[in-house]
């Protein structure tokens, strides 16, 4: 489980939100890998971007928008 307890406004992050964040961070790490086969890496990148969307909409993150 990801350990981010607060959102960028200092509000408590709910359990569901923590789960979303953890998934995003995991996909983010995977999408930086260079040793995955294209069929895995490109789909991971797509999945990461969709999770970024969810976390960004819910304002769980506020960071440099690159990394895709």
């Amino acid at each position: 489980m990801h350990d981010q307890q607060m959102d960028p406004l200092g509000r408590t992050v709910t359990k569901d939100e923590q789960e979303l964040l953890a998934l995003f961070r995991q996909l983010e790490r995977l999408s930086q890998r260079t040793d995955l086969p294209p069929c895995a890496l490109m789909n991971v990148k797509q999945a990461m971007v969709l999770m970024w969307n969810a976390c960004n909409d819910l304002f769980l993150i506020s960071e440099d928008p690159r990394g895709d």
């Binding site: 406004l9 909409d57 960071e63 928008p65 690159r66 895709d68």
Partner: protein, 447 residues
């Protein structure tokens, strides 16, 4: 099992108390300005020239320290450094999409690039709008759109896939083929420019198809023209299609929509305020205007990594009213009456300001009219004249004398008594449009 959906795409943030929404905007603004300053030479120069640094943005009011960004500057930047200028923050190889502005202003189109995240964000903004207007996974959505380099409804198409709708792309179909497919496949939602929604309805009539009876359309979502918020145009569309008509507005420069009408339809679209800061300013002085005063939209967009758009002067005219004018519970303020026109489409005729949208508002009150055109001329090199050419629907010729007199009066009443020449066009004479309509012809000499 029936799924009970939230009426909001993003219930948490769309209903945040206003003070928390403002705190969110400030945080995003600070991140954006820092990012733009670090990665976009265009922005860095702009801020150095204005003597402003990212760390000076401490409150939302500090946005006024930041210089405006204009389309002219952006175009000049792309011309000096083809193809994309140095506004972009990333190498073009990072992009997955390339689009152009529509070119309706007659100028060189702007070129834009988007990354994976940018594109996903773009589709997500459409999701705010489509979901907010009641589009759900069960819907079959038809896009009357050519799918070219103009961004148009591209993002909306992907939004519908994201929502889980059956999404129908009509590409290079003729209008007749589109009407046929809408009926055959039982489309429940149709997306088009307001002009083209009317044209499809007129074509259906000529084909002997009654869209209300033979079709299943429950929503018509329009975009791309100010007419989408003219009540008479919406009524015509609703009468033709049998579904509720909702307006959205966006621009290629932001890649998506920034406002949408919710199901309550309080008389204008809501601003998506967690992703945009929309200022309304006096276009001459650049000073902010209070609620209820018409001014120029200036947009700051938080979503695109390739193209940071900060205090971009849109030249759109709007009248912002508080979100409390709507009962839907969203915190986004409302542009009453939608996009009211543009600062640069105002024409001065014998001392009176004329906006094409205002003319259309009057013309569309008359259901007998199929198409129209505004023509500006100059007599003896001195006096400006304005004429409105009217093409009637089939079998409506008998009403012309009465209609002509009524239109002349209504147009004059709406324009401080200005005399309009109202002329009859032959059937099929006036041009028809698929994307943004160009109904104004200014034939006056330029010097």
């Amino acid at each position: 099992m029936t799924q009970h959906w939230s009426p909001y795409w993003n219930p948490k943030v769309e209903t945040l108390p206003k003070d928390q929404l403002r705190a969110l905007q400030l945080k995003k603004l600070q991140t954006l300005v820092q990012y733009a300053c670090t990665h976009s030479p265009f922005h860095r120069r702009l801020y150095e020239k204005a003597g402003v640094r990212p760390e000076q943005i401490k409150t939302l009011d500090d946005i006024r320290r930041l210089p405006f960004m204009t389309r002219e500057d952006w175009m000049a930047n792309q011309a000096e450094q083809p193809l994309f200028g140095d506004l972009i923050t990333r190498p073009p190889a990072d992009a997955i999409r390339y689009h152009l502005t529509s070119g309706t202003s007659g100028r060189q189109p702007l070129r834009v690039l988007d990354s994976r995240k940018d594109w996903s964000w773009i589709t997500d903004m459409w999701c705010y709008g489509f979901w907010g207007f009641g589009i759900r996974p069960r819907d079959t959505v038809f896009f009357a759109f050519s799918y070219g380099s103009f961004i148009g409804f591209w993002g909306a198409h992907y939004c519908c896939e994201k929502i889980g709708c059956l999404t129908l792309a009509s590409g290079n179909m003729t209008t007749e083929q589109r009407v046929k497919q809408i009926v055959e496949l039982g489309a429940t939602v149709v997306c088009a420019t307001p002009t083209y929604a009317l044209r499809m309805g007129q074509t259906a009539e000529k084909m002997g198809i009654n869209l209300k009876r033979d079709g299943k359309v429950r929503r018509v979502i329009v975009s791309g023209e100010p007419a989408g918020s003219i009540p008479a145009v919406k009524k015509m569309i609703e009468d033709m299609w049998g579904g509720k008509c909702g307006d959205t507005a966006g621009m290629t420069e932001i890649g998506t929509i920034m406002v949408f009408e919710c199901e309550q339809q309080p008389g204008g679209p809501h601003i998506i305020e967690d992703h945009f800061i929309e200022e309304v300013l006096d276009s001459d002085t650049g000073e902010p205007l209070p609620y209820g005063q018409r001014g120029e939209r200036v947009v700051t967009s938080f979503g695109r990594s390739f193209i940071p758009l900060i205090r971009y002067r849109t030249k759109d005219l709007v009248n912002k009213v508080p979100h409390t004018h709507c009962s839907c519970g969203r915190n986004g303020d409302i542009y009453e009456g939608g996009i009211l026109g543009r600062t640069d489409d105002m024409k001065l005729i014998r001392g009176t300001n004329v906006y094409p949208r205002a003319v259309e508002s009057v013309v569309r009150e008359h259901a007998e009219i199929e198409e129209f055109q505004i023509i500006l001329t100059r007599t003896d090199n001195v006096q400006d004249e304005i004429a409105v050419k009217i093409e009637l629907k089939p079998n409506q010729q008998d009403c012309w004398p009465r209609l002509r007199a009524q239109l002349s009066k209504d147009l004059a009443d709406a324009h401080e008594g200005l005399r309009f020449n109202v002329d009859l066009a032959n059937v099929g004479e006036l041009p028809r449009f698929e994307l943004k309509a160009k109904r104004l012809q200014d034939l006056r000499p330029t010097n």
